[in-house]
């Protein structure tokens, strides 16, 4: 797969050139595609290397490129980090919402995956909160699967920590997410996320979204979920 290597080489080259010339990165490079935190085949066989390559390099890459393409028409984008943008997304055109959401969602999604057996397990604090708000870990999983399965069309399923401290399962359409200030979105800090766009699973699972969801659970990076929960809780 020469494409990802080539892309990385190109980005590294561009950065080096800018450093060499003592200039800031051009405006269109304001947002950048983070590299995957593992090899493209690290999640095999549940998520295959081809899917990971296309999903990261092409889909996520396009969200980044298209978001950067919006900077000229929306100069205030250049002053916002990606996280802060989400909570102000209603002030921007729909192309910023779609691509800014797509960039944020995928950037999070990669960190919430780990090769099977390497993601650890839920912390005592997180287990206690899940038991408190769902009854059991199994009940949370069932609700999450329900949200992921019934999201019609393209979108995401989430485990969030709401502003009142409670946990909830939600789902959003397309590239919306629970940080966005959009009417109708249940807001909170995402702890766990699952991409249920068909592009996330079609090459391997085709119409069988439930099989993809089952295959995904062993890939959850609970260490990252624990970390996100600890930060969200301490920020209260």
């Amino acid at each position: 797969m020469p494409f990802p290597l080539f892309t990385r080489f190109l980005l590294a080259g561009l950065t080096a050139l800018c450093l060499l010339l003592g200039s800031a990165l051009p405006a269109w490079a304001e947002f950048s595609l983070p590299p995957l935190p593992y090899a493209v085949d690290a999640l095999e066989p549940a998520i295959d290397a081809t899917t990971m390559t296309i999903h990261h390099d092409r889909h996520h890459g396009a969200y980044v490129a298209n978001l950067n393409g919006q900077i000229q028409a929306n100069p205030s984008l250049a002053d916002l980090n990606l996280n802060d943008l989400q909570a102000k997304i209603s002030q921007f055109p729909v192309a910023v919402r779609n691509n800014g959401g797509g960039h944020w969602n995928h950037s999070l999604f990669w960190t919430l995956l780990a090769p099977a057996g390497q993601g650890g397990s839920p912390s005592q604090d997180l287990i206690a909160a899940i038991d408190r708000d769902f009854g059991s870990m199994q009940a949370m999983r069932t609700q999450f699967e329900q949200a992921a399965t019934t999201r019609f069309g393209s979108g995401w399923a989430w485990l969030i920590r709401k502003p009142d401290g409670s946990l909830a399962i939600t789902s959003t359409a397309n590239q919306d997410n629970p940080l966005m200030d959009i009417p109708g979105i249940e807001r909170g800090v995402p702890l766990l996320a699952l991409d249920v766009w068909e592009h996330a699973y079609y090459l391997k699972y085709q119409n069988r979204r439930p099989d993809y969801i089952q295959a995904w659970w062993p890939l959850v990076n609970w260490q990252e979920v624990n970390h996100r929960y600890a930060i969200a809780t301490s920020g209260r």
Partner: protein
Amino acid sequence: MAHTLPALPYDLDALEPHISRATLEFHHGKHHAAYVTNLNNLISGTELENSGLEEIIVAVAGDAGKAGIFNNAAQVWNHSFYWQCIKPAGGGAPSGALLDKINADLGSFEAFVEQFKAAGATQFGSGWAWLVLDNGSLKVTKTPNADLPLAHGQTALLTMDVWEHAYYLDYQNRRPDYMTTFLEKLVNWDFVAANLAAA
């Protein structure tokens, strides 16, 4: 009245290499079939049990409490229509009254192609691009997910499925390549012309 899955109007491999046998097997045999099954399950024992497909769609359109019925009924309709909009050795440009109407209402065939591709490209997420008749005029539109012209008082003449499942096995993320192939190699303009004549 149980709704049924219509047979494809051509063989599963008839659209190769533009749309593969595998894509049609899943798209028709799994996705379209599931919408039919889900619809029959959802209306069983309800007042819609004996209603026709279009009657159901119009009855539940805009009713948030019946979104499941709308989604499945509309997707049954959309896919049955979509299969007829494409054929082996299709594509190219229309002629006769349809072309005259495109020229009159949209400016030119090239303008139609541009608008239709733009509709498909900008339908973010899942959905459909359409050529419709709206109050006597041709229009290019797009709809998200299962939504369709019938729910907006328009008559559908042509549609292109831009759910990722329609093209992912053959084109992956390259929706523009699928759209170009759809227009150049697959559109069944005779079907579109017949829809216009009947409208």
